[in-house]
Every structure is written in C-alpha cells, then in structure tokens.
C-alpha cells in the first residue's frame, strides 16, 4: 500500500492507484471531464490539476500515480488557479448555448463552470465552429460544444469493442467524427450520450422534447433481455420521455444497451391498445372491461364444458412479469388445464421432466468478466445479450479465451480463440467432439456413441481451453435453445462442463426466462409455484409447440381456446405459419396485449384486452443470474389499459376460481415468495437421465438459420421508431455463402423466393462467406418473413 496525504488527510491506496483514486477514496472532489472510472486514462482535459508538494508545476490527478509520502493539495491557491485557468481555456471555443442545449441542467461543463468559471469571458476573438455530423438515428450532434475529452472515442475502443468515432485533425482543427460520414452502429452506442460531459452528443429521439428539470425520475428494470438492467425512467406529464441506466455494478455496471435505452418510444406508440375490444361478426368493436371479461369467462367456460379443460391453453411471453405469469398459470391450472408455457420459440422439449430446476446463467453476471475461458454455443451474442458480450470482451482483454460454436461467423468485436462455424444441425456433433476430446484429456469414461466421433482440431482446442484455464464457463445461447436438437446440445454441454469443471449456464432470452420457470409457467414442471400453490403438483400439460400444433404433433393436441399474454404469435413463435393455423382454427383466442395492429389484421383473435407494459404496472423480473428485482409502475396506464395481474385477478373471480382475492401485487409476490424461500435453490441446469443418443444425421438439404433480430425481440422494441431506423433493423435478407449463391445461380442483390412449408416470401439475396455452405440465414420474428415456417430446419431458395 502507498500512503499519501491529500488536503491534510492521510490515505493508503493500492500500488499504481492514481491521485484521483485516492481522492475518491477519501471523498474529496476533484473536478474532471475526461476521466471516467470505466475508461482508460487520457488526461487531455487538464481539469483535474492539483498541487503536489515539491512538484514545480500542477499535475493532473487522473493520471498521476500516488507515490509514497506525496502531499497533495486540491484546493490550494495554485490548484484552484490552475483549475480556473483550465476552465477558461475550455470555454474559449465553447458556444455557451446552454439555453438551447439539451444537456443544460445535467451538463458537467455547465456545473463546473459555475464552480470554476468566471462570470464573463475575456475572450473576444472569433470562436471555432465545427460542423455537425450525422451519426445515425440515435445520436444527435452539436460538435461545436465538444471539448475533445475523447470519452466517446475510448468508449468505442474499450467497451463497445469497435472504434467508430475518432479524433481527426490536430490542434484547433481537431474534431470528433466517423470515417467518411458512417453512422455509429454499435448496439451500445447510446452510452456515449451519457459519457459526453457536454451537449455534443445528445439523444436524437429525446431532442428538444423536455428540459431535464421538468422530468421526474423513477427506478425501473429493463424488460428487454435476460440481464435485468437497472433503469431510471424519466417522466413528464405521465409520459415516458427518456430512459437512462441506473448504476448497478453487479448487473449492468453503468451501461445499458440501445435496446434498453431507446425502446421507450414503443411505449408511446400509436399502436397501443387502449380499450378492450370484441370481434362480433368479423368486426372489431370497442367495449367496456365488464363486457370483455364476461365474454372471456363465458367463452372459457363453454370450452371447458364442451371439450374439457385440457382444450384451454395459455401462452405467455417470458417478458411478462413474475406476478402475471404466476397468476396466468394459476388460473389455467385452477380451471383444470395443465397447458401453460412461455417457451414460445423453443422447438425441442425432450428435456422437460428431466430438468432439475429453472435454467439459469450458472454463475453471477459479474463473474463473467473474470472468466479465463468461455465457450458460447449458438448465440448472436452481441445482439441478444449486448452487455454479456461486453463483459466477455473485458474478460478477453484480461487474458481470457473466448471459444464459439455458432452457425455463423459474426464478429464479436473481440479476439476469439477458437471458432467452430457449423450448420445448426451439426452443433451437437461438434459438442460430441469436444466432449470426447475433454474426456480423453481428463481420462474420464464416456458413452460409446461419443467415442466414435472424429475429433477436429478446433474441437480439441476448445476442450483444452476449457480444461487449462480457470475459471471457465459454458453458455447456451438463444439460438441453441431454439434449435430442434436443444436437448442433445444441452446434455452434451452439461457433460463437457462436468468433465472440464467449467460452470454451465443457459443465457436467459427474456427478462423473466428464469422467473417463468420458477412460477410454473411451464407444463408439468415442479417448481416454486407448483410446490406451494393451491393446485395439484405435477399436473401434466402441453408445451408451447404442442399447443400451437407444430407439424409433428397430432391435430388433437391443439387447443380450442387460447389465452395469449404479451405476445404476438406471428412474430413470437418458433413456427409462425403453424401457430397462425392453430389460432385461426380455434374457438376462442383471448389476446392480452399492450398493442393492437390495425385491429383488422388480428384476425385470429376474438377479444383484445389492453394490458399495461412494464412502465405502467408493478412487477418483478428474475434475471438470468436468478436475482429477483421488483419495480413499480412509473406512469398511469394509458387509456383503459390495466395491469395484467389485475385483469387475471378479476377474470379468476369472474370464473369463481378460489384464491384470486389479491388487493395488491405485493400479496401476489408474497404468495410466490414466502419470506423463507431461497430462489437459488431452485436454479439448476442439470438434466437427469437423458442418454446421449447417436448423433443425428446431417440433413442433406438447405437449412435455415432463423435468428431473432435485435430490434424485433419483443412487442415494445418493435415499435420503437428510432431503433427501427438503425442498420440493425434492416429488412431481412437471405444470407448465403458465395459458394451457395453460385450453386443456386443467384447473385447477391437479386430478389429470391424463399419457401418453407406452404409459405413463401420474396427477399433480397445477400452474401456472407462466413456461413456454412448448406445454410441460408433468414431472420425470423420479422413481418417480412412471418409467412415462413420454423426458425430452423429445411428451407428452399429459388431464383425468380
């Protein structure tokens, strides 16, 4: 430890710590602009000048290392004079346009100029003017305000992993820009807005819509991905105006993804459903809640009487709150049906009944940054889990090895140690190779089926990486979970983790992927809700794909009445083609949703119940590491929309089901989590008793890789206009390798006909040589491809 003195106070800091670190430890404030605790030291703003005893000139606190015995003054006459002088320099070229600047009121430059600036300027010469740049639909620029602190540049290099902004020119001509007018496309780009200490980079969607002091700030939790990022939601006149990160070192640090930040636009969308509606004689009519709920209750009772309770099915989005999911499954089970599921995009359910608990990350989120080896299987990591990708990037920077098994070669903006790019149906084969190799290296017995596999160099290298570097972890991504061989992939990964002594995790797709399991929003699974609930334990039921009549389940498995919560089945299911057929053939489809399309297009639904999105209801999400985070509504529900837990409560009572007399969401929560319940004991990724089968034969035809595009993953983000204008939201193309394009006689840029089942779409062909030659990458969950079938499996491409 190094002992120094700052402003007369003693402090001892770790070797290598800077004076800024030491001052922070003491709670002494030193003004700064370019310094940021998560970024490298640039020391270019010079605002943090302090006086050091015996040093002839002032020194920047952010970059000066503490040396034993140093005596530092942050408030001596010299220090103050230096800081004030520096402030004067910074303001020379600054336009001082605070009255029209969005940053006004939350601007570091403005704040510090109150403390260190003069009341008037001595500079009378012309100021420099810097042209604004178009950085895309999310970030607006006023480059004349820039003080060249380079925080935005360093963020790109160090956190986002891609340097999109840079400082061109020199001296007075220096300016921040992108290479020849490119846009900033990082999925984390919004953080640059937070980092910019002045109003040079501000939010484009928020621009000129409110002054910061008019906004009230409320805490919330992001519903968009499995991380559960902590948010501050800012409100004006009962409208969400802006979303910012709330620092939580263990979850999102001080960042959030652009999806978390800009999705709020979807909350104020024109497509919000604000009154209950019933379809009568093919026409949608608005009605009151009483009428709508009675209609639903009567309909469900009729289904039960005529076809039995088992012909009622409930499907909920895993982006729903814990309370909503709990009440939905409770209601359905109380009616006597075990058909409830949230795994809308899963296609392989063989592991049901073998799973020992709720699938989860297998470790703390924060521990990801410390990994020395990681294997990620089937994931568009940067798009599905932007901040987990960021943590893995930090791990790699500290010497960790990242290994990937993916059906594409997407750039993760970090160094990748070993990368196996294989068709989706060959992922299990590669895993078998890794397993065999690991077993041989560790001298462990494995089943004969695995012993036969021929091990490739990449597979062996992955096994070595996992064995030699600790801590190590294996993660199953969203794509792996959607894949038709998920059970095999899961089991093989589990064995590899056991043998290599790596931690084993499932990356949570949605805000409540873990919570949905815990409250029993899955058929026949014995988890929290079922153990303590008033209903029968382990009642069997149909899973999402059976309910939606996937082609290989008998038609009799389909339900007659469906309750849909928070989902748009044409975009949110594994096979929208089949899902639509099942729903269209049903007697009653109740759609609880925050959105309508233009109401006519929801031809499969019979009644629409407007429910509140996360900003208008209180609720709980259990994130991928098993952390329960509750939040309150931050604005009142729009129009007649109501929190879904209330709707379910009333519905339960209308149907005379017992146990639906909740007055507050806290009562629901208390029922799910009696105080003595420890969530972590229910988290478990292990499969029991599932034998490793023969590796499936690779299919001979073309296979689809149907990932979920980042800004199509849930109903809110789909309606976030600015995000929909980013490059990441571009219309889906049929991506193929050059070899495949040649084979089909197609040139990139041509329109091609893509067919699956009895549906087809016409989209543009595009070239990506990193794809396996038997794969066509066509995004799912998109209106332009909703006519197609499963997210994976056979697909046909024809030239027009």
């Amino acid at each position: 430890m190094t002992n120094i003195e700052i402003d007369g106070k003693q402090v001892s800091v770790a070797p290598g710590a800077t004076l800024m670190d030491a001052a922070t430890q003491l709670g002494i404030y030193i003004p700064y602009f370019c310094y940021h605790k998560k970024l490298s030291i640039a020391a270019n703003c010079r605002m943090c000048l302090v006086q050091i005893e015996k040093a002839p000139k002032p020194m920047p606190a952010c970059s000066t290392p503490a040396v034993e015995g140093m005596k530092v003054s942050t408030h001596s006459a010299m220090a103050i004079a230096s800081q004030k002088g520096q402030m004067e320099f910074l303001l020379i070229n600054h336009p001082l346009d605070c009255p029209i600047c969005d940053q006004g009121g939350e601007c570091q430059l403005q704040d510090l100029s109150v403390g260190y600036g003069a009341s008037s300027s001595r500079y009378t010469e012309p100021k420099r003017v810097v042209a604004n740049k178009n950085l895309g639909p999310l970030i607006s620029t006023d480059m004349t305000r820039c003080i060249l602190c380079t925080r935005c540049v360093r963020f790109g290099q160090e956190i986002a992993g891609i340097m999109e902004l840079g400082m061109a020119g020199r001296g007075e001509h220096a300016e921040i820009l992108t290479f020849v007018g490119n846009s900033v496309d990082s999925e984390l780009s919004g953080n640059m807005i937070d980092l910019c200490p002045v109003g040079a980079l501000v939010s484009k969607p928020f621009r000129y819509s409110a002054r910061t002091w008019e906004l009230s700030r409320r805490r919330s939790i992001s519903p968009h991905c499995g991380l559960g990022s902590n948010l501050v939601v800012q409100i004006k006149q009962n409208r969400v105006m802006r979303v910012l990160p709330r620092e939580s070192e263990e979850i999102n640090e001080c960042w959030i993804s652009d999806k978390d930040r800009f999705s709020y636009e979807g909350l104020n969308s024109e497509e919000r459903l604000t009154t209950p509606m019933i379809k009568r004689d093919g026409k949608w009519q608005e009605c009151d809640w009483q009428t709508a709920l009675e209609f639903v209750a009567t309909g469900l009772k009729a289904t039960k009487e005529n076809h039995g309770a088992q012909s009622i099915g409930a499907l909920a989005s895993p982006h729903s709150t814990l309370e909503e999911l709990y009440l939905l499954q409770k209601m359905v089970r109380a009616m006597g049906s075990g058909n409830v599921d949230h795994r809308l995009r899963q296609s392989d359910f063989r592991a049901d009944g073998q799973l020992q608990g709720a699938p989860w990350l297998g470790m703390k989120i924060a521990e990801i940054s410390q990994l020395k080896s990681a294997l990620v299987i089937g994931s568009t990591l940067r798009k599905d889990h932007p901040l987990i990708a960021q943590r893995l990037r930090q791990a790699v920077k500290q010497g960790g090895e990242l290994n990937l098994i993916n059906p594409f070669g997407d750039d993760l903006l970090t160094e990748v140690a070993n990368h196996a790019v294989v068709a989706p149906d060959a992922i299990a084969t590669i895993l078998a190779q890794v397993l065999r190799s690991a077993a041989e290296l560790k001298d462990v017995e494995i089943p004969d089926t695995v012993k036969k596999t021929v091990v490739t160099d990449t597979a062996r290298a992955i096994a070595v990486s996992l064995i030699d570097n600790k801590p190590a972890a294996i993660f199953l991504g969203n794509l792996a979970q959607h894949q038709p061989q998920y059970a095999d992939i899961h089991l093989l990964a589990q064995h590899i983790a056991r043998i290599t002594e790596a931690s084993f995790g499932v990356l949570g797709e949605a805000a409540n992927s873990v919570g949905a399991y815990l409250v029993g929003a899955v058929p026949g699974i014995d988890t929290v809700g079922l153990i303590n609930g008033s209903h029968k334990v382990g009642m069997g039921g149909r899973n999402a794909s059976q309910m939606l009549g996937l082609s290989d389940t008998p038609a009799a498995d389909q339900c007659r009445s469906y309750l849909l919560m928070n989902l748009e089945p044409e975009l949110d299911s594994y096979n929208p083609q089949q899902a639509m057929k099942a729903l269209q053939g049903a007697d009653l489809v109740v759609m609880m949703s925050a959105y309508k399309k233009n109401a006519t297009s929801i031809d499969y639904a019979d009644v629409l119940l407007p429910i509140a999105p996360f900003t208008e209801t209180s609720g709980t999400f259990i994130n991928t590491e098993g952390r329960a985070q509750s939040f309150n509504g931050v604005v009142a529900p729009l129009g007649e929309a109501r929190p879904a837990w209330k709707v379910l409560r009333v519905l339960g009572n209308l149907m005379q089901l017992s146990g639906f007399d909740y007055e507050t969401p806290e009562q629901v929560r208390a029922e799910i989590f009696p105080t003595d319940r420890d969530i972590t004991s229910h988290l478990n990724n292990s499969l029991d008793n599932l034998a490793i089968g023969e590796p499936a034969l690779a299919s001979s035809g073309l296979q689809r890789i149907g990932e979920v595009p980042i800004y199509q993953a849930d109903p809110i983000v789909r309606r976030a206009e600015s995000l929909q204008r980013t490059h990441d939201a571009a219309a889906p193309s049929a991506w193929m390798s050059g070899i495949l394009l040649d084979k089909l006689g197609v040139t990139a840029g041509d329109t091609v006909r893509v067919k699956q089942g009895d549906g087809e779409v016409q989209i543009t062909a595009a070239r990506d040589d990193k794809l396996p030659n038997n794969c066509v990458r066509v995004a799912s969950a998109h209106p332009l491809t909703a006519a197609l079938g499963g997210m994976f499996g056979e697909i046909m491409v024809e030239r027009l």
Binding site: I162, M163, E164, G166, A168, G169, R170, F179
Partner: protein, 158 residues
Amino acid sequence: MLTAESLKKIEHEVAKYPAEQKRSAVMSALAIAQDEKGWLANETMDFIAHYLGMPPIAVYEVATFYNMYDLKPVGKYKVTVCTNLPCALSGGNDAAAHLKQKLGIGFNQTTPDGSFTLKEGECLGACGDAPVMLVNNKRMCSFMSNDKIDQLLEDLSK
C-alpha cells in the same frame, strides 16, 4: 488497390513490429500508399485499415494529424513552406508571399496546369536554414531567397 511493389514495401515495414502490433506500421504504410497514388483517397485509407487490421477511423486520425499526408489530389510538385515562428522571424512569410505571387495561387491551391501545389507547413526541424521548404515531402530546400525560389521553380518546370 496498391501495386505489388508498394505492398512489398509495406510488408517490410510491418515486419519491424511484433505481429499483434502491426498497426504500428500505419504511418509508413500511408506514406508508401501516397507515394504510389499521389494522395490518400478514402478508399486507400480504408484499404490500409483492412490491411493492418485496424478501424478505418484510426487510420483517418493519423492521416489527418500529420500534414505531410494529402487527403486531396495535389499537383505534380507539392511545395511546402514553413511558416512557424522561427522561420517567420527569418523570412518564411516573405518566401511564402513570393511563391504565391510567382505561382499565382494561395495556400492549399494548385496551379491550373496541375504542376504546383502550395502548402503551409509546420517546423521542418531546420529553423537555422530559414526560409525552408520541402518539395514532394522528400526534397529539402534551405536558405530560400527569392532568387533561389525562382531557380527552383524553373528547374521543376523543365
């Protein structure tokens, strides 16, 4: 994009640095590319960025920082006059004025026949020789009196 010869030269520079730091060769690579192409177009910088495995904007930062790189086409001869303080005190500005008058162009302009471009430069490290100028980044000319300037322009125009 670049000739085999230029690429060979770049490779030679790259070899001077550890493999994972080949971006250190960016300045030489830009100079070699500029020698071949006459100036650095965006495509050229983009090419170098890919060649050295660095973000294009990082190449652009370097290319815009040093004023010996030309991001716009220049004439056959680029004459750079130093006007920094030591030179300014010893006739640098007068030499510049003479050049402007002789060539009929200002700084950053090119003569209509495309033979000369005039640039204002930073200290060339030869302040004692003022006025100094540099032709095509390679040829250093010292003690440039008006007569010597006339002579230089005449020689170059031949």
